[in-house]
C-alpha cells in the first residue's frame, strides 16, 4: 500500500510541475467568469443558466485534463524506460498501475475542485450566492473522470496515446447511450448489465433542481467503484502479460 501511495504521490508531483492542471483551470476559470455576460435566457433564470454552463465547462475542462494526463502517462514511461527503475524494485505491476491511476484521479479531482471554487467566487460576485449545490456536480464530474482515467490507463498499458483518446471517447459515448443502444424488455432487456455512466448525469437537478438525493450520490459512488475497478482489473491483466 505504501508503495502504491508513493507512486501516486510521484504522479501528482509530476503532473503539478507540468503545469497542465494550472493552464486548464485558469482557462476554464476565465470562461466561467465570462458566463454572466452571456445573453440572458430568461428573466429570473440567470443563476440556473450560470450553473448549467459552469458545469458544462467544468466537465469539458476535466475531460480534456484527464485525457491530457492519462493518455500518454504509461506509454511515455515505458518508452523512456522510467518504469524500469520502479518495477525492478519490490513493486508489483498492479501497485504501479493503481498508484498511477490514483495520482491522476487525485490531480483531476483537485483541479475540478479548484474550478468549483473559482465558479463559486464568480457566482458570489454576480448573484450574491455561493451556490454550494455545485459541489454535487464537482463530485459527479470527479467520479466520472475517475472512471475515464481508469479506462484510459487500462488501454494505455498496450497502446499509444491516440488509441487511448479514441477509446476513451468511445467509452464515454457508449457509457451515456444506454437508452439509445439497449432497448427491449423482458428477455432482451440488457440494461442491467450495461456499463452505463448515466448515474453521473446530474446537470439538471444541480442546475435547475434542488440538488440530488443521497441515493443518487450512493449510486454515483457505486458506479465509480464498479466501473473503475473493472477497467483497472483489465489494465492489471494486460500490463501483467506485457513485456516491457
Amino acid at each position: 500500500m505504501s508503495r502504491m501511495l508513493s507512486i501516486a504521490r510521484a504522479v501528482i508531483a509530476d503532473c503539478v510541475r507540468r503545469r497542465v492542471p494550472y493552464v486548464v483551470v485558469l482557462f476554464a476559470g476565465i470562461l466561467a467568469a465570462a458566463i454572466p455576460s452571456l445573453p440572458d435566457y430568461g428573466v429570473g433564470v440567470e443563476p440556473e443558466v450560470f450553473r448549467e454552463v459552469a458545469l458544462a465547462l467544468m466537465y469539458v475542462a476535466a475531460l480534456v485534463l484527464s485525457l491530457a494526463l492519462a493518455a500518454n502517462r504509461l506509454p511515455s514511461e515505458f518508452e523512456r524506460r522510467t518504469a524500469y527503475s520502479v518495477l525492478s524494485k519490490q513493486v508489483s505491476r498492479w501497485e504501479y498501475l493503481l498508484g498511477t491511476w490514483l495520482g491522476l484521479t487525485a490531480v483531476v479531482a483537485a483541479s475540478v475542485a479548484a474550478f468549483t471554487v473559482v465558479v463559486q467566487a464568480v457566482a458570489l460576485i454576480s448573484y450574491g450566492d455561493f451556490m454550494w449545490v455545485l459541489w454535487v456536480g464537482t463530485l459527479s464530474i470527479a467520479l466520472e473522470m475517475g472512471v475515464i482515467v481508469a479506462a484510459a490507463v487500462a488501454v494505455s498499458t498496450v497502446s499509444g496515446p491516440v488509441v487511448v483518446v479514441v477509446a476513451s471517447a468511445l467509452i464515454l459515448f457508449v457509457g451515456h447511450s444506454r437508452s439509445t443502444l439497449v432497448g427491449g424488455a423482458g428477455a432482451t432487456d440488457l440494461s442491467l448489465f450495461y456499463p452505463s455512466l448515466d448515474s453521473f448525469n446530474i446537470m439538471l437537478p444541480v442546475a435547475y433542481g434542488g440538488g440530488v438525493s443521497a441515493l443518487m450520490v450512493l449510486s454515483m459512488v457505486m458506479v465509480f467503484a464498479g466501473l473503475s475497478g473493472i477497467a483497472l482489473l483489465l489494465g492489471v491483466v494486460l500490463l501483467g502479460k506485457r513485456d516491457l
Partner: protein
C-alpha cells in the same frame, strides 16, 4: 559451485518472441544458464542482439520468460518479493524531468524500503558517492547524460541491495566517471554485494570482473574466470628494456614482438623462457617482467564471435 553460494541463478532461460503468421517465433534467448557467486562481480558480454538485456529483463521481471528459472538469493526474482534484495540500473536510465535529484532519490528510496527518517541522509550520502554533490535541488531536466547515469546508479543502490544488476553503467560517462563507477563496483564487492555487469566496455569488464559469460545469438558462448578465458596455455609474455635490437637467439624464438623506445614485449614458449632470459642478460638487457601470455579480451571476444559465425569451434 554450490547453489547456496549463488546470488543469482538463471537456469534454462528462454524467450521466444511471436512472429506474424505460423512461424514458430524468434528465440532472443535460447537456453541461457548463469550462476553468479555471492560477493563477486560477474560480467555479461556479447554483441548487439546476443540476448544480454533480454536475459537481465527476464531476471528482474520486466520481460515474461517463455521458459526458465530466475532466482536472486534463492528466491524467484520474477515476483516482486524476490526482488527485495535487488538494485537495478537500466541502460541509459531516464527519470521524470520535473523533479529534483533529492526528490527522485526520496521516491526510489521509499520504493526500495528505506525508512522515512533515513531517506534524506541516505540520498545525500549517495549523491556524494556518485559524484553529484550539491545537486540536491537541481531539476533533472538540467542534468547531463552522464549525471543521469550517476543518478541511475544511486537509485539502484539506495536500498543497500545485496545484488546489483548494472546494464551498461559506463554508458555516457567520461573517463573520470568510468573510473568512479569501476571503483564503486569494487567497493560494492568489498562490502559483500554481488554485481552482475552487462557491458560493451571490455576494458571495464576485464578490470573488475571475477568471471564473465559471453553470450552470442541467445546462447552462452563461453563462461569462466577471466584468467581461464584469456591466458594462453604454454606461452609466456616477456618485457625487456635496454636493447636496441633483440639478440638473434631471442628473435628466433619470439612471437608477437612489439617495441616502444628501448622496451620490448614479446612472447615465447614456456620451455624457452630460461634461454631467452639468459640471452637478454648476455646482450646487456634487463628483464622487466615475465607473465603468462594473455589474450586481450577484445581479441578473445572477436575470435569467439567470428568462430561462432563461421561455425568453427574455438
Amino acid at each position: 559451485m554450490e547453489q547456496a553460494d549463488s546470488a543469482i541463478r538463471v537456469d534454462g532461460a528462454r524467450k521466444v518472441y511471436k512472429t506474424v503468421g505460423k512461424s514458430p517465433g524468434r528465440a532472443a534467448v535460447d537456453g541461457i544458464s548463469l550462476e553468479v557467486e555471492q560477493g563477486s562481480i560477474h560480467g555479461l558480454l556479447g554483441p548487439n542482439g546476443a540476448g544480454k538485456t533480454t536475459t537481465l529483463k527476464m531476471l528482474i521481471g520486466l520481460v515474461k520468460p517463455t521458459e526458465g528459472i530466475f532466482e536472486i538469493l534463492g528466491e524467484d526474482s520474477t515476483s516482486p518479493k524476490g526482488r527485495r534484495h535487488l538494485g537495478f540500473l537500466p541502460e541509459q536510465p531516464y527519470f521524470p524531468q520535473h523533479i529534483t535529484a533529492m526528490q527522485a532519490l526520496r521516491f526510489y528510496g521509499r520504493l526500495a524500503g528505506v525508512e522515512k527518517q533515513d531517506l534524506d541522509g541516505r540520498a545525500v550520502e549517495l549523491l556524494g558517492k556518485v559524484g553529484l554533490d550539491g545537486t540536491e535541488r537541481t531539476e533533472l531536466s538540467k542534468f547531463s547524460r552522464g549525471m543521469l547515469q550517476r543518478l541511475g546508479i544511486a537509485q539502484a543502490i539506495i536500498g543497500r541491495p545485496k545484488v546489483v544488476v548494472l546494464d551498461e553503467p559506463a554508458s555516457g560517462l567520461d573517463p573520470v566517471g568510468q573510473r568512479d563507477i569501476r571503483n564503486l563496483m569494487l567497493e560494492l564487492r568489498e562490502n559483500g554485494t554481488t554485481v552482475l555487469l552487462s557491458s560493451h566496455q571490455l576494458s571495464e569488464v576485464e578490470a573488475v570482473c571475477d568471471r564473465v559469460s559471453i553470450l552470442n545469438a541467445g546462447k552462452v558462448a563461453a563462461e569462466g574466470h577471466i584468467d581461464e578465458l584469456l591466458n594462453i596455455s604454454g606461452q609466456t609474455s616477456i618485457r625487456v628494456r635496454g636493447l636496441d635490437e633483440l639478440p638473434a637467439a631471442v628473435n628466433a624464438l619470439a612471437g608477437d614482438v612489439a617495441v616502444s623506445g628501448s622496451v620490448w614485449v614479446f612472447s615465447v614458449e614456456d620451455s624457452a623462457v630460461r634461454s631467452v632470459v639468459d640471452a637478454v642478460d648476455d646482450a646487456g638487457g634487463a628483464v622487466m617482467s615475465l607473465a603468462p601470455k594473455r589474450e586481450s579480451l577484445e581479441d578473445y571476444f572477436a575470435r569467439l564471435i567470428a568462430s561462432a559465425r563461421t561455425g568453427v569451434a574455438s
